[in-house]
């Protein structure tokens, strides 16, 4: 039971991470109608920046803050130099162009930081385990991730629903020509939105950096999970991304932790050992397939344009 609670927390933590990535993807898709595969690269860059700046400043928090700003800037520059030119092209061009950007960023990072990857050590006060429930200890840093992401999700909600910028963003999503005609600098707005998405991806990367090693291509597999999240949640819907991210995070983590054992108990020992891991890695894709059969537009389809 204690193990179960711990795995649930792990699942929520993965879900939070997926939400940060999925929110940026879905925002960029919803507003610019742009498929951005290079999102995983921004995640990777955020982690590399955090590791580097933390080494320079000697402080995890300062490193993280600097990395966040740096990723935001990289995102905005990327938008102005490359992404902007892809708006209005069809989705295949987006896929190709941003696929090119992945190759570019992977080798650029390899060139700058070398092929070995980096580690980002945690400050000592975050290394302890906290008693979350009687008898249940959980690493403090993972709780920090969950908490920080919830704050970010709340800020994002306030930004999009309660501020003038958010109003313009939503207006831009529903009718970009009209917003442009009303005198809003739509190009600048798009650059800001892309930068925001990049910062969210970078934030996910830098938060995850101390848990995993910071390495080239680290954003590629998690990006696919983020895609699954936005398919389940409904492309363009931040609320859908949040709900789907938690569902996917929980199912993936709990499936991996318990399915092989369950199959050993209820089917047969050999079935659990051989097919268990394969089945548990299939679970979220099967969930996606089921969602598609019943709701092809996702659980929370964004409002029709």
């Amino acid at each position: 039971m204690l193990y179960f609670i711990e795995q649930c927390l792990n699942g929520i933590q993965l879900g939070m991470l997926l939400f940060l990535l999925a929110a940026g993807l879905t925002l960029i898709f919803g507003i610019m109608d742009m498929v951005n595969l290079a999102h995983g690269s921004l995640y990777m860059i955020g982690a590399f920046f955090a590791a580097t700046f933390a080494e320079w400043t000697g402080s995890f928090v300062a490193g993280a803050a600097l990395a966040l700003i740096a990723t935001l800037l990289v995102g905005m520059v990327l938008e102005v130099v490359a992404i902007r030119r892809l708006y209005g092209h069809d989705h295949l061009d987006h896929v190709l162009g941003t696929f090119g950007l992945i190759l570019f960023f992977n080798d650029l990072v390899r060139w700058i930081w070398g092929p070995a990857g980096m580690t980002l050590p945690l400050p000592s006060e975050m290394l302890t385990a906290v008693q979350v429930l009687p008898g249940v200890y959980y690493p403090a840093y993972r709780l920090v991730i969950i908490g920080a992401t919830l704050v970010v999700a709340l800020l994002l909600y306030v930004l999009v629903m309660r501020t003038r910028i958010g109003m313009l963003i939503r207006a831009g999503a529903s009718n970009r020509e009209m917003v442009g005609a009303l005198g809003v600098n739509i190009k600048l707005l798009y650059t800001l939105v892309f930068g925001l998405g990049a910062a969210l991806a970078g934030f996910a990367g830098l938060m995850q950096a101390p848990i995993l090693t910071v390495q080239i291509g680290m954003g590629e597999n998690i990006l696919i999970l983020a895609f699954v999240v936005i398919i389940i949640g409904g492309i363009g819907s931040i609320r859908g991304a949040f709900v789907a991210a938690i569902i996917v995070g929980l199912i993936d983590t709990i499936g991996r932790a318990f399915l092989p054992d369950l199959m050993r108990t209820f089917v047969s020992y050999s079935a659990g050992s051989s097919a268990g891991p394969a089945l548990s890695s299939m679970m979220i894709y099967m969930l996606m397939a089921v969602v598609l059969v019943f709701r092809p537009e996702g659980l929370f389809p964004a409002a029709k344009r």
Partner: protein
């Protein structure tokens, strides 16, 4: 777009056709050249190019002609390869068993995935094909008995009796070349048939095709399955060529590579993907001679192709005649 049908009304000696003919001659004579200078690396490289060209042709069938942008085509490379590898490991070394089973498995996977994916369109289709390919990738990693993450070496290539020896490099090259030509011919016949017209009609305006009375879903699904099986064949060849299979054959980067080949060569043309595969893989090879950071050059090039050259190389060659 439809250069194959266009070229019927113009003289045959266009720059494009000359180029294609020259390329075919070079490909046909390459083993002779390799034998003379004694360079087996070149032969091996071009065998790989021919095999991946076949995969690119299969992707182009659904993407270029059918408008179904599949971002998970490498899955069929892997499934074909694994079907062959698993049978080989379990002692079924006859190609007469291995190849049909591999194609059948790929066809079934394509049937299931296609039936689900074709319920959606646009970006959803791109992402869902990608996600299912990723699922296949993780299943392969979980196959402990067959090497898991590390993959497995295949000790015996497919056996076709005494007089066919796939381990002979030159013979294997010509086999791949012949199969590629056969597949290109098949695709050419297919897209110019009634079936192909329905597929292309569904790409331009699916609602209209349905209104005329075509069950477009069935046509598109059939096309998807055919494409998956062709790609599965190239997967079997690829595993035979490398004597090895591992999950990274179906990583989504490989799916992207296939997509790049099809678009670079010229989407929606029968021979374009072959040109694209030759161009892309040679470029990769040449760049790797100069720098270990090919991506810094290759990446922006892909971006430029996406932005400026939708017709691909085939489009540029066709444009030469007009310009």
């Amino acid at each position: 777009m439809m250069s194959s049908s266009m070229s019927r009304s113009v003289p045959w000696l266009t720059p494009r056709n000359t180029f294609v003919a020259a390329l075919l001659v070079v490909l046909a004579l390459l083993p002779v050249y390799c034998a003379i200078i004694g360079n087996t690396f070149l032969l091996s490289l071009f065998t790989r190019i021919l095999i991946l060209a076949m995969a690119a042709v299969s992707l182009n069938l659904i993407m270029g002609f059918g408008g179904m942008v599949s971002f998970g085509h490498a899955a069929y490379l892997g499934i074909g390869g694994y079907a062959f590898g698993i049978l080989a490991k379990e002692g079924f070394t006859s190609g007469l068993i291995q190849w049909p089973v591999a194609l059948l498995v790929c066809g079934l996977f394509a049937l299931v995935v296609g039936a689900l994916c074709l319920r959606t369109r646009g970006v959803y289709f791109i992402m869902i094909t990608l996600a299912f390919a990723q699922m296949a990738y993780y299943i392969a990693i979980a196959l402990d008995r067959y090497g898991g993450d590390d993959g497995m070496t295949i000790y015996k290539r497919s056996q076709f009796g005494d007089w066919v020896n796939l381990s002979n490099k030159t013979f294997f090259y010509y086999l791949c070349f012949a199969l590629l030509l056969g597949i290109v011919y098949l695709v050419w016949r297919l897209v110019n048939s009634r079936f192909g017209m329905v597929i292309q009609g569904a790409r331009s305006n699916e609602r209209r095709m349905r209104a005329i009375g075509f069950p477009t879903f069935r046509y598109k699904l059939t096309c998807f399955v055919i494409s998956g099986m062709i790609c599965g064949l190239s997967g079997v060849l690829l595993a035979n060529h490398t004597d090895f299979i591992n999950p990274s054959v179906m990583s989504w980067i490989r799916s992207g590579d296939l997509m790049v080949m099809a678009v670079l060569g010229g989407m929606g043309t029968v021979f374009g993907p072959v040109i694209g595969a030759v161009a892309f893989l040679l470029l990769e090879e040449v760049l790797s001679r100069f720098t270990e950071f090919q991506g810094i050059i290759l990446g922006p090039m892909l971006l430029a192709v996406a932005l400026c050259a939708r017709g691909g190389i085939d489009g540029i060659l066709t444009g030469l005649r007009r310009g």
